[in-house]
Symmetry: D2
Subunit: 309 residues, 4 copies
Amino acid sequence: MLLDATASGLFPIAPTPFTPSGAVDFASVDRLVERYLAAGATGVTVLGIMGEAPKLEPDEALAITARFIDGFGDLPVVVGVSAPGFAAMRALARAAMERGAAGVMIAPPPALRTDDQITGYYRQAVEAIGTDIPFVIQDYPLTLTVQMTPQVIRRIVEENPSCVMLKHEDWPGLEKISALRGFQKDGSLRPLSILTGNGGLFLDFEMERGANGAMTGYAFPEMLADVVRLQKEGLREEAHNLFDAHLPLLRYEQQQGVGLAVRKYVLMRRGFIASDAQRKPGSALTPAARDEVDYLLARLARHDGRARL
Amino acid sequence: MLLDATASGLFPIAPTPFTPSGAVDFASVDRLVERYLAAGATGVTVLGIMGEAPKLEPDEALAITARFIDGFGDLPVVVGVSAPGFAAMRALARAAMERGAAGVMIAPPPALRTDDQITGYYRQAVEAIGTDIPFVIQDYPLTLTVQMTPQVIRRIVEENPSCVMLKHEDWPGLEKISALRGFQKDGSLRPLSILTGNGGLFLDFEMERGANGAMTGYAFPEMLADVVRLQKEGLREEAHNLFDAHLPLLRYEQQQGVGLAVRKYVLMRRGFIASDAQRKPGSALTPAARDEVDYLLARLARHDGRARL
Amino acid sequence: MLLDATASGLFPIAPTPFTPSGAVDFASVDRLVERYLAAGATGVTVLGIMGEAPKLEPDEALAITARFIDGFGDLPVVVGVSAPGFAAMRALARAAMERGAAGVMIAPPPALRTDDQITGYYRQAVEAIGTDIPFVIQDYPLTLTVQMTPQVIRRIVEENPSCVMLKHEDWPGLEKISALRGFQKDGSLRPLSILTGNGGLFLDFEMERGANGAMTGYAFPEMLADVVRLQKEGLREEAHNLFDAHLPLLRYEQQQGVGLAVRKYVLMRRGFIASDAQRKPGSALTPAARDEVDYLLARLARHDGRARL
Amino acid sequence: MLLDATASGLFPIAPTPFTPSGAVDFASVDRLVERYLAAGATGVTVLGIMGEAPKLEPDEALAITARFIDGFGDLPVVVGVSAPGFAAMRALARAAMERGAAGVMIAPPPALRTDDQITGYYRQAVEAIGTDIPFVIQDYPLTLTVQMTPQVIRRIVEENPSCVMLKHEDWPGLEKISALRGFQKDGSLRPLSILTGNGGLFLDFEMERGANGAMTGYAFPEMLADVVRLQKEGLREEAHNLFDAHLPLLRYEQQQGVGLAVRKYVLMRRGFIASDAQRKPGSALTPAARDEVDYLLARLARHDGRARL
């Protein structure tokens, strides 16, 4: 089943579990899948920035993708295919789709500056992978340094019928969601799914501005799914209460560069994966940082029993 | 009285209050001073990035500085003197000190890359302003794009006896505080005050890592002063409880580009300043954003009565 | 007399002459003016990036501007007013115009990325300085990191009637000149003077693509004026012959960071200024570099007698 | 035979020839090899930035490498292995060495800023590819935005015994060569081959500063080899005369972004390759640019008969 503009809910950004010796830990992939589904995931995204994709051999990348696809069954799996060249992008995109992926995600290379450069890049990328593969725009200026206005996103969507989703992680970005939804109200933009990233730091309000869900990797996917659901049900206070309880930890996890180490550590403590090892070159938490995360988990457990270890 | 390495507590980053027509609102400066002192400020920083300094005429900048100096009495006033050229930096630094400032703050220009470029810049800046003016290093890579390792900060401190403080706002930056404090334990770095910025987003743990206080402009300086005090008194749980209650709003205020509009709006709602106007070119909150801030204030008021309007 | 879209010929980018002790050397300003006029200059630009403007006190900047205005008589003097804030930009622009400047030049700040940010910046700048001051867009991505498409330049020109000139120094940039001249042919862009910079590295072909002249500081303004004139007279071979003879030295002078030291050294050797001193922080040529420049001058003198010392 | 620190002469940066339909043109690879050898090449570098490497499938990249290795016989072939991840870097490096490459070239990723980040990256890269593969540092800040001081280069060389060469293309960079050669004179740096790139724009003086040769892709490798040879023979005037004759075209070819199109066009006109096609997304010369290149070739032919078509 192909990804389309009606996608919503929670698509966790999956980390790649490794054993301490650096091998891909497929048993942990299976556990991750099970826990994501139990948490309420409606899809999943693999081989993103937080999936340590550049450290994977091409065969490994496809094997991991296939394992997630098997586990998620009918639910869509989105595959990150950003690459410095279109040959590699095309090869991975076509291979992933053949194995049953629902669509791909494409981030712009950091050198892009002008509006025309950005829209031109997406045209070329679509030409490279083929117009039959649904794709997600990743809009993440904090890391990628590429700034897309709402008008540029609209141009990409309008010029490429296979564009079905925006992974929105501009920061600040609430007004961008409102602008895009405004374009749709005035008829100048066709339907587009908007899932939000950026670690979930503004998920509480992003849902109120019109997002369809979350696509991010916070180590408590249950909270992300719940906030998305509560907001859709109109239970605003409940959504914010839950979100606020998690915010101290979420904020800690959302640190650039350190975030993945925090995330894997918490996922390991929670039994989602067997080890928090990163393939080299990786980063690890200092003892002081581990103590801080443990402290945040203990404090969170008072509000959300699922944080009890 | 000159700033020295024993400085601690809370130095709010002061905004510059304007009237809706764009004039400097000196009555609001007086009110700000009064409220900062009541909140527990032990000093103040003016003409920083959030003080709209580049929009001020030189005479206005000095007049504002003088007003804060008068209001703060014996407490130290730090003046931001970052400038594209050393002539302007020197002129402002000397004039501010003559009027009674305690020291100046210098941010590195964005073009600096290598360790030698950064340390060379600070040597030249000190030569320009004179070795008799105590200065603060501003380490803020998120906005300035200049990355200083702990080793580079140590070199700047060691090469320039007039360096007395680090405004620490690297992100993530907890390990940097630990590294600098480690240098001091092993005798390779002399005493240095570390006040933390970055909107206060990690103040809870920064104090535990060895910071001496906060230098940032969150619109509830009372909370910043309290967290600093509680951590110094060893009341960890109380510090985190208070911090966590504020985090949803603090996180909202800490958005790049939008932050000053949020901050001025909250300060206006709280009666610290008469208007949230920014001098042109400024940004303003949309109605949707104002509603969100009001909602966050109302939620905060349940935990901290000082947020009641 | 105000600058307008008919401006053409050679506007040298003037360095600021200093004495070895760092004082402004006004006698050398007078000599520069005399030599520029003898070389065929049709105007001059002061306080540009190569004019060490950020090292000047505001009074000095105005005094230098006034001296050039006096010396150039009826010929236009353009004043660089780029500044981190609109207050300083406005103050300098208004003061310079009062003293008789013909227009100002505005470079975009390096943080600008999207098309809308760039055009928005120029609207705000014009609002700040006033719509009555003719201005020049400086398009210099190599140093400023801001990338303007021909479409963005057209938008700036169309939105701001006081825009009369483009200082074109994109690299590569020949196609940009052709694109802008194409807009004028198809009626979508009003008349606009295009003078080219970038050290003159492509002046030979820029004139053939439609530039109106040069605005750059190569230490042989005679060559720049001659190439502009020869190309206008249709003497293509003569223009290229002269240009090619100078290219080895011109290329050497056009090095980022070192260029000003080379330029001032050659101007000093040629008697245009008394000293090649830069105000601190400056750079100086190593003995090896001076030997290389002397060698290039000696080689050039075989083709162009004006290089004889 | 492995690359070592005695390497010198001319290592052309080879383009990848394509047919107009986008297939790799192996017949043109053979012609290129033949012409490079006739021009005096002492080695060759493949899969560099100008080799359109990111557009190649992994199998194609290896096939091209193998073809050059076969053609160059005993002469060293250096393979560019820069990649966003160490998995891909390792895979390509090991495979290329197995097929007979002499060494690899590694460029730093653009995000690196501090001295420690840069040296840390090279340590990790060497750990990834293995300490048995000789490697070349690519120092190209104009495109890569990474700035390495001479001290940082020395640290990389000293920390990694397998580092045997610097591809020097800093700009300006003459003083960097002198600084590195100075380190060797004072005994603080072991022998290191320095070949220079940057299109050859300063090859004339780079040889005089101590470079061992050129590693760049100017479409007249004969000139590069001759200038290297003449300088080594002490024939300074002859070297500069030849260099200066080529400088107008060389300068035209050295334009960022357009350079490869110029280079392939000239190589095609000279019979080195059958077509100037770039694999998509590529750039092509406009008719105006082609005319300019033809004009430059015709002018060059008056001084250097090899430019006659």
